[in-house]
């Protein structure tokens, strides 16, 4: 098995949460994503053994959902929304500037494995359009200038944990909601930050 004991222990904990083993395949794939930055065939083999279905069945699920990456991602996954609200609020400009700064086309990763860029469909932040996600941590009301600043900041400081609230304060604008609870935890990998998966951490 290519997973270490710590990860396996966590996987077994997750499996126990479900009445049927195979139901755990979704979170386990997130776990695989957090480990390698993509869903490797090795991880698929591990998951198939853990939940008792064939490898190709796991592969089938992992290739169906776009959040499970089939190619290795950089340290930071930059997702810029291109759906209607954001588009009306000039997200194409954001996309252009981010692409210009990173030098990446859609779904590309740079050579240093720092950034992966993608233009995505609605990420549920229409009220705060245009919206951007870094490792699925959402920042709203991002101007094209601030988007570039955000990228610069990531490139210079290379934070281990990216926190939505922190980025919102420094690079964001209008938010969809302003009554949300303050949350100082953020994502540690290109998998979304879930407590049960331990892919999230409080930034000190």
């Amino acid at each position: 098995m290519s997973w270490d004991d710590k990860l396996l222990k966590q996987a077994k904990k997750i499996i126990k949460l479900y009445p049927q083993k195979r139901s755990a395949i979704g979170p386990l794939l997130h776990l695989a994503q957090s480990k390698d930055g993509y869903i490797s065939d090795d991880s698929i083999a591990v998951i198939s053994e853990l939940v008792g279905i064939t490898e190709v069945q796991v592969k089938s699920v992992s290739t169906f959902y776009s959040m499970y990456k089939q190619e290795p991602t950089g340290k930071y996954l930059l997702s810029v929304c291109k759906s209607i609200s954001c588009e009306i609020n000039n997200s194409s400009e954001v996309i252009n500037k981010v692409q210009e700064f990173t030098g990446l086309n859609n779904n590309e990763t740079d050579e240093e494995k720092l950034f992966t860029f993608e233009a995505v469909e609605c990420i549920g932040a229409c009220g705060g359009a245009p919206a951007v996600q870094v490792n699925y941590e959402t920042v709203e009301g991002v101007t094209s200038e601030n988007a570039v600043n955000l990228c610069k900041w990531l490139k210079e400081t290379k934070p281990e944990v990216v926190v939505a609230d922190e980025m919102q304060e420094n690079f964001g604008g209008i938010k969809s909601f302003d009554w949300a609870i303050q949350d100082s935890s953020g994502a540690t990998s290109t998998a979304p930050g879930f407590q049960t998966l331990k892919t999230t951490k409080v930034k000190k």
Binding site: D41, I44, I53, T54, E55, V56, Q57, K59, S60, T63, F64, Y65, S66
Partner: protein
Amino acid sequence: MSEKVNLNVNGIEIESDPNKLLIEACEDSGIHIPRFCWHKRLDPVGMCRMCLVEVETPRGKILVPSCTTEVGDEMVVDTESDVVKKAQEGVLEFLLINHPLDCPICDKAGECPLQDQTMAYGPGESRFVEEKRHFEKPINISEIILLDRERCILCARCTRFSDEISGDPLIEFIQRGNKTEVNTFPNEPFRSYFSGNTVQICPVGALTSTSYRFKARPWDLKSTRSTCNGCSMGCSIELNSSQNKMLRILGVDNDAVNQGWICDKGRYNFEYLNSDSRLKNPLKKMDNEFVEIEIQDVYSELSEVIKDKQTKVNFLLGSNLTNEDYVAFREFSEIISQSEKSFYLNDDLLFKGFFGDNIELAKIDDLNSSDAIVVWAEDLKEKIPVLYLRIRQAVKNGVKLVVFGHTNETLSDIADVYYGKETVSENFEIVKDVSKLKEIKDLVIGKNITAILGKATPYQSDESVTKLFEFLNLNTNSKVLNAYSKGNTYGAFKTLENVKGLNDFVNDISKESTDLLFIVGADPVGRSVYSNQIKSIIKGLDIVVSLDNFNHETSEQANFVIPISSTLGEKEGTFTNIEFRTSRIDKLVPSPGQTVSDWEFITSLMNFAGLTVKTNSLEDLNTKAYENLEDSVSPVFDNLDKPSNLDGMVNVSKPKISSSVRTLIKTMFFTGEKLYGDSVTVRHSDSISLLGSKKYIEVSESLAEKYNLTSGKCTLIQDELEVTVSYEVSKSLPNDLIYVPKNRRDLNKFDFSREINIIPSQVKEALNVN
């Protein structure tokens, strides 16, 4: 009795069982609804949308897919309205967007549902001018199956088959939306015993087989319905030939037996018919060399021998004879000998079985209607693959499955209870008190049980299985399915008075008891645990006549080798399967050279010798085979050819098996057979010949430790014989046991009842040093 529902389809009142799908109800009433993804043996998915029909609802008429809609009382359905027609045209236009126009080079063209339905329901013209989707054409997804993803219309029939029916989902949809394709996991090919079925049910030419690819066009094919004689299941098959060459075998949906499915061995193990190495002329051994002679000369030489009333003749019969062949040999033996004759079957597992007067024999369909199935037999997936599918189906329908022994480990995945090495010892004995096992109390005692019983290995004592049988007979309402796995074994039971197995052959046959031995369609030297003993017995006999399709290790020892026509498509007759269902074997292609049928040979020989022969034709033999049955139920040709009897006729009979009782032979080897082995027919069937080439053994954990086997290869040594095999350490084998697939090349040469030395391979040791 559940009440029927009435519905109105296209203005016609039809009746249907409730809970039926609309498409099925219409089909039963003769109203055809076009479809691609729906298949009556698979769960509905509603993938292709071709079966859209209009149904009246309180909100007006709406289009619904008839394959996922259940019938309702007073439902009003229209399958031919303008709206439906427009929907069908639209669906077809979408399906054809990415479908390549390579019908002229496609195997499916001519019998292609997509082609046919486009003609019948499609739009006349294409409006699509853009570039079609492209994939690499075609890719090998296994040694015998090719996949052309451009042609695929994503109906999910193949993926559903492999998931629901055969239980080895090695193909799945990969990606999503426009990029969706069927594929395997990298380096994990679609190695399934049933993969050929996916080719048959593919509604386009996406899945093709290496065997049939580019061989013929469907409209050039001649076809006939026959019965597969590969194992005792007797699956209904359709034979296809072109220009007198057998080209393809398809499964036929026989509800009581195979339900349309057949195993890959049954599907592709016909290629040997066209092999160049097939015997075409009779051979006679002169000065240790075979020379070709005329069949007339064989008759005249042998007739001299049998004219002598004192000649002691014996028969070793294989399992690929038709019932009529068996009867011919029976007639022959009755004419030449006054005393009762025994017939030796080429089966080292043969034992008395469970056919007593107070035993009710099970039918295959009983698997579905019983409360639980109890299995202790050979590995059914390897030996009777389609019975394995029927067990899977029963389990899916909620029947409980109780499996005994490490011999049926392939069933353990779907078993409710699997009694492995803790319960069944290395001596193949149940070491626990069965009546006290908790699961047995819950699932078995007092219930309706179908027991599939047979010996798992030749070294097992008869008594061990009998004990389990007696327990079941006493404590449950049980029916027994005796699991003799070889070909037409039940036909031999039905037609021959007194049958024995190979162990009796070894004990009985000697120069004193036998002047003339007929070995028919059998290679016991090549493929039995008594290989060496039988070889020396045959060597010691005066005249041995081998009748077979090929020269093999047994016929090498014979004085005469007669080429015979194959039971697969080269002769007519009848076959009796595991539930005593007799069905037709039909002829489609001529056999090569001077080949004769077994019955022709023996009948001609009798005539040549001037004996009074009562059965001179196939019809005579066929009538003779069932003469003790009433006309109305007798499976003679006339009755079997009636449309209502195409699926065969069941006449249960209680055979007389006079096999002597065997006790346990203590050995650390447990021999079994894999589906693909080193038989002469598989070896000469190109597309599957390599599938059984891997030589390996499975070693129990304790022995792996004892012989210092960790991983890699090892060498088996006995006398001067050395064979290197790869091995796997098996957790399911009891201590001190080694599993050997004895039908793999070279492995049959060992005498597993004696000691065999095992050493880790030298190569491996050298690697470890480095």
